[in-house]
């Protein structure tokens, strides 16, 4: 069975991120000038406008800023997953990223819930970062 959901449209800004994901490393950009940790990737710092940037590995923990529970599949590939959760997660390092919350009942998700990363290896080329409720020590 092929993977029926949309895959990332990789561009120059996001390529290092997706390469990191394939190795199960959640990479975010850090401005070499002002130190801002940022997401989504961009070639210029929104705070100081520097184009000097390095990639650092986030540890993959955060909190749910907000979430939405899909009861309707706007893309056919998601039909079998209904209801599923799309969330904005605030990483402990600061940046906020859109993702899925998996591994729990959608009704149990709440804002500020502590979550940790779980990798979905969807193809030879792509692993997609998703999050689940934080397990074990906080």
């Amino acid at each position: 069975m092929g993977y029926a959901k949309p895959l990332p449209q990789v561009n120059a800004d996001t390529r290092p991120f997706w390469q990191g994901c394939r190795q199960h490393l959640l990479k975010i950009q850090k401005c070499k000038n002002c130190g801002l940790l940022r997401w989504p990737p961009a070639f210029i710092c929104p705070a100081c406008l520097s184009s000097e940037v390095e990639w650092v590995v986030a540890k993959g923990r955060g909190r749910v800023y907000s979430f939405a529970v899909y009861h309707s599949a706007y893309q056919p590939g998601f039909q079998d997953e209904l209801p599923y959760v799309v969330a904005l997660v605030d990483l402990d390092e600061g940046p906020r990223m859109i993702t899925n919350i998996v591994g729990c009942d959608p009704g149990g998700v709440y804002c500020e819930m502590a979550v940790e990363i779980v990798w979905d290896d969807v193809s030879e080329a792509f692993s997609i970062p998703k999050f689940r409720p934080l397990q074990g020590e906080g």
């Binding site: 989504p40 907000s66 939405a68 599949a73 706007y74 209801p83 904005l88």
Partner: protein, 296 residues
């Protein structure tokens, strides 16, 4: 609107047509536009405006305890206006609190009736100078105040999903230009892609404190006969989706007295309007425009 005023004031032109038309219901271009807007977020099953506004609304539920008990007043209240508007898509369909509650979830926390319509059709308005407009057949409606604020480009950098949105600064600018307070406004036409959008916009304009909407909307406040009529055509939720032109043209037509059975005034047991507040949004609360009109 701001560009139109600039073009008129600079003498670049004498008339400006602002128009919108779309075969969104019978064609697939709206769906394609929303898919394009989603971008790489589609890999998570995120979709378009409904997904983004659902995230905003859920955060608002967390921050100031809003939710369906507030939004039902907006959906039901606007439907009551649409039931007076023969051109509204929902003209002949009643909506009760129970109907609202019984409707299916689409993207929770939004039920079916929290979402706007998808429509075929269009709207237009023409701007010209006050001097020229005095000689035309319709009553004169002028622009008292304009304001815009565009806080972000990316949903993942949006800290204002639960307010203050761009409506706060845009509203302050428009009221300042108009030289009036919000108490002087007789009725509002608020961009209502979702019920929550109406709440957060009026909240950011200062009509109630965060979470105060639950009480403010009660008792049919925005309906025919209410103390602050809102979206008197039925709005995007119950009349038709023509982007910001739905609220804008309704505001002007109400001030001109061209609204038939839904006309504000004695017919609908409301105040005959002199001052109208209109709003428009873009993206997921990423851009905002506020406009205050006055009948001379």
């Amino acid at each position: 609107m701001l560009h139109a005023v600039g073009a008129l004031e600079s003498g670049t032109c004498k008339y400006v047509l602002i128009s919108y038309g779309h075969s969104a219901r019978s064609g697939d271009s709206m769906l394609r536009m929303l898919s394009d807007m989603t971008g790489d977020e589609a890999i998570y099953g995120h979709f378009g405006a409904a997904g983004g506004y659902a995230l905003a609304a859920q955060r608002a539920m967390h921050e100031f305890n809003t939710g369906p008990d507030t939004w039902k007043h907006i959906a039901v209240g606007q439907r009551a206006w649409a039931n007076l508007n023969p051109r509204a898509m929902m003209y002949d369909r009643r909506l009760t609190d129970d109907d609202y509650r019984a409707a299916k979830w689409l993207i929770e926390p939004f039920r079916l009736f929290d979402n706007c319509l998808v429509s075929d059709g269009g709207r237009a308005c023409i701007l010209t100078s006050v001097e020229r407009a005095r000689d035309l057949k319709h009553p004169l409606v002028t622009i008292m105040g304009l304001g815009q604020h565009n806080p972000s480009g990316d949903l993942q950098k949006a800290d204002y999903l639960a307010g203050p949105t761009g409506a706060k600064i845009a509203g302050e600018a428009a009221f300042s230009m108009a030289g009036i307070s919000r108490e002087a406004v007789d009725a509002c036409q608020i961009y209502d892609c979702f019920t929550y959008t109406v709440e957060i916009t009026l909240q950011d304009y200062g009509y109630f404190e965060p979470g105060g909407g639950k009480d403010w909307f009660m008792g049919g406040a925005i309906e025919p006969g209410g103390r602050m009529p809102v979206n008197t055509s039925g709005g995007l939720l119950s009349e038709a989706y023509h982007m910001g032109l739905t609220p804008l043209t309704e505001g002007v037509m109400q001030l001109m007295g061209r609204c038939g059975p839904r006309q504000l005034g004695p017919e609908t047991n409301t105040k005959t309007p002199e001052i109208m507040l209109c709003s428009d949004n873009g993206g997921i609360l990423q851009t905002h425009a506020c406009c205050i009109f006055r009948r001379l």
